[in-house]
Amino acid sequence: MNVMSFVYGFLVLLGVFVFQTTLTGLNRKVTARLQKRYGARWYQQFLDIFKALRKDSTSHGWVFDFGVIMALGGIMATVIFIPVAGFEAFPGLDNIFVISYLLAVGMLGMAMSAAGSGNPWASIGVARALTNMLAYDVPLMIVIFTLIFAFDSSSLSEIAALQQGMGILGWNAFRMPLGGIVAVIALLGMLGKKPFDSFIAPTEIASGPMVEYGGKHLGFMFILHEFMTFIEVSIILSLFFGGGATIWEYMLKYAVLYTFMNIISGVMPRFKIDQAVKYFYRVPLAMAIVQGLVVIFTGLGVTLWF
């Protein structure tokens, strides 16, 4: 740990922000095409974020501000830990449990700040968001657990590296197909894409946790959302789609995976929150457990199929 690590960390943050925000902008265009229209400019997402940061804001007390800072801080720390194509600012700390629990710092900060606004819609939104998390995380964690068991490692970069060099069939998504499907479904839930977006449903709870944010707080939320998206997609990408040997491969795969998520969510209405829980605890959970048992007892998938 030296000064360079922090400089690298900062550069990673900057790069991730530019990359993910551009991608979000492009995906707004993709969604627009799905809806038979032109859609926003590709750099619209940047404009939105900077505009929000530019505006005046309202604060509902110190926890409202503190939560936002804590959320963004926690998420940015998590981003620094994410290995991108083998590069890590702080080598060796890309433990999957560390990442997924550091992610929770951000969530908690956001939840705290939202509930601190004193708005009931926000509290309902937070309650839904936490429930949603319980829904998608259990199947996903079981699959990740299986991976850790299979490869004796809980490091993202190591698991990603293990899948490379064997072509497409070396990816865990193909070695453990059930687990791969679960991961993709869970990714939809993690990203808060439809049909699992009931916690920000504007027509039900007026955008939920975001209700009271304006100005720089809202800008923070947008930046946070970009970072969070990056973390979530990256986790799945590294664990199931082999990460990337080079940065370009990584970005390309990332873009494809993220766009795919967006296209699915473009033609989906949203589940009610209890329906989402029921859904996750029916099909994906069963699939995850079956996959886990197969890997633990037969070892199929640890080695290549062919």
Binding site: T203, A206, P269, R270, K272
Partner: protein
């Protein structure tokens, strides 16, 4: 137990129009709901007493924003009944054409707006753009997209433009292609099923208690209770159409009926174009008096037509002068929009509050007037 007071509207994405429902919520169940109308109250009934019979033509479409033609038809029918005049045959056909086109437009819009409460925005984008193409036809017909002021007492304002019917038929052909697409996207979507099936029930007793009409009534009662059938106006007795019904009314059934009515409306439009005489007058002068200041014989009459949400009625009182003495408006969604919310929104979840408004077809401007 600590109840929370939540407001659905007036400024809430889940509320179409400007209306408010005060909900007392325990957990996520609505324990008490109070409708709060009046945000769109403009005092129409008072204003109409202060305008000439002709001048009111400008006011009446604005009572119900999404469906103005129904208002024009009701007003025209009422005045004609008071003045006791018969209008030319072709005017009847044109009126039916316009009314059914309007019905197609509003059904498309409400089919698309199911995307709001359920989050299927793609449906909204598609359906409303499709409706917009239909509005272009209206624009060609009368020069306005929304407020047409086309159906006037004594007939319609002027004859159809050249080649209009062909364009309408072409549009119907296009819709024939497009609506199955929307059905695939909306009605067959498993998540939409999860949201709407067995949800937001409307039993027949409630229909009779509240006085709900339209799709809500027919989906629960299972009879063809449609004013176009029960008490035909214009030439609805001369065309062949079915009124789709059901006996179990949940949100999905009502959505289904909407689409089936859409097909029936298109069927009527084709028949109307087929049967419409190509020549003939389209209007007659209403009554004596100068061109703009007619007088209408004294009397009281109630006229009603079937709008997309049910019985739409005007009670018109004339004292023989140049202005109406009193006009009372029965908005089609009045029963479900006020008493329905108060009595039957409770017990639902807040997730469904917006869907409730949408599925019951609550149109706020016609309640507020």
């Amino acid at each position: 137990m600590n109840e929370v007071k939540l407001f659905l509207g007036p400024q809430h994405p889940g509320m179409h129009g400007n209306y408010s429902v005060h909900m007392y919520v325990d957990g996520d169940i609505i324990k008490k709901a109070r409708p709060t109308p009046g945000f769109l109250h403009r005092g129409f009934e008072k204003l109409m007493e202060r305008r000439y019979w002709m001048g009111n033509l400008a006011l009446i479409p604005r009572i119900c924003v999404p469906e103005p033609d129904t208002n024009e038809m009701v007003y025209a029918m009422g005045v004609e009944a008071l003045a006791n005049i018969e209008i030319p045959e072709k005017a009847h056909w044109i009126r039916m054409l316009v009314l059914e086109m309007a019905r197609v437009a509003i059904h498309l819009m409400s089919l698309g707006s199911i995307g709001g409460p359920t989050g299927l925005y793609t449906a909204t984008y598609w359906a409303i753009a499709q409706r917009d193409l239909l509005l272009d036809l209206f624009e060609e017909l009368c020069g306005a997209r929304i407020y047409h002021m086309y159906i006037v007492p004594g007939g319609v304002r002027k004859d159809l433009p050249e080649g209009f019917t062909d364009k309408v038929l072409a549009m119907m052909d296009e819709l024939d292609e497009k609506i199955p697409e929307y059905e695939d996207l909306i009605l067959k979507h498993p998540v939409i099923h999860a949201r709407t099936k067995d949800n937001i029930l409307l039993p027949a007793e409630v229909v009779w208690e509240l006085g709900v009409t339209g799709i809500g009534m027919r989906s629960a009662v299972g009879k063809e209770y449609d004013l176009r059938k029960v008490k035909p106006y214009a030439y609805y007795d001369k065309v062949d159409f079915e009124v789709p019904t059901a006996t179990y009314s949940d949100a999905l059934t009502r959505l289904n009926l909407k689409v089936r009515e859409l097909y029936q409306s298109m069927r009527i439009i084709r028949q109307v174009i087929d049967k419409m005489p190509s020549k003939g007058a389209v209007n007659v002068p209403v009554s004596t008096g100068s061109a703009l200041r007619w007088t209408v014989p004294a009397g009281m009459v109630y006229s009603a037509v079937e709008s997309s949400r049910g019985e739409y009625g005007y009670f018109i009182v004339s004292d023989g002068k140049e202005m109406p003495y009193r006009i009372a408006v029965r908005g089609a969604s009045y029963p479900q929009g006020l008493l329905g919310i108060e009595k039957y929104l409770k017990g639902h979840r807040i997730d469904d509050a917006s869907l409730w408004m949408d599925s019951m077809g609550v149109c706020t401007p016609e309640i507020d007037r």
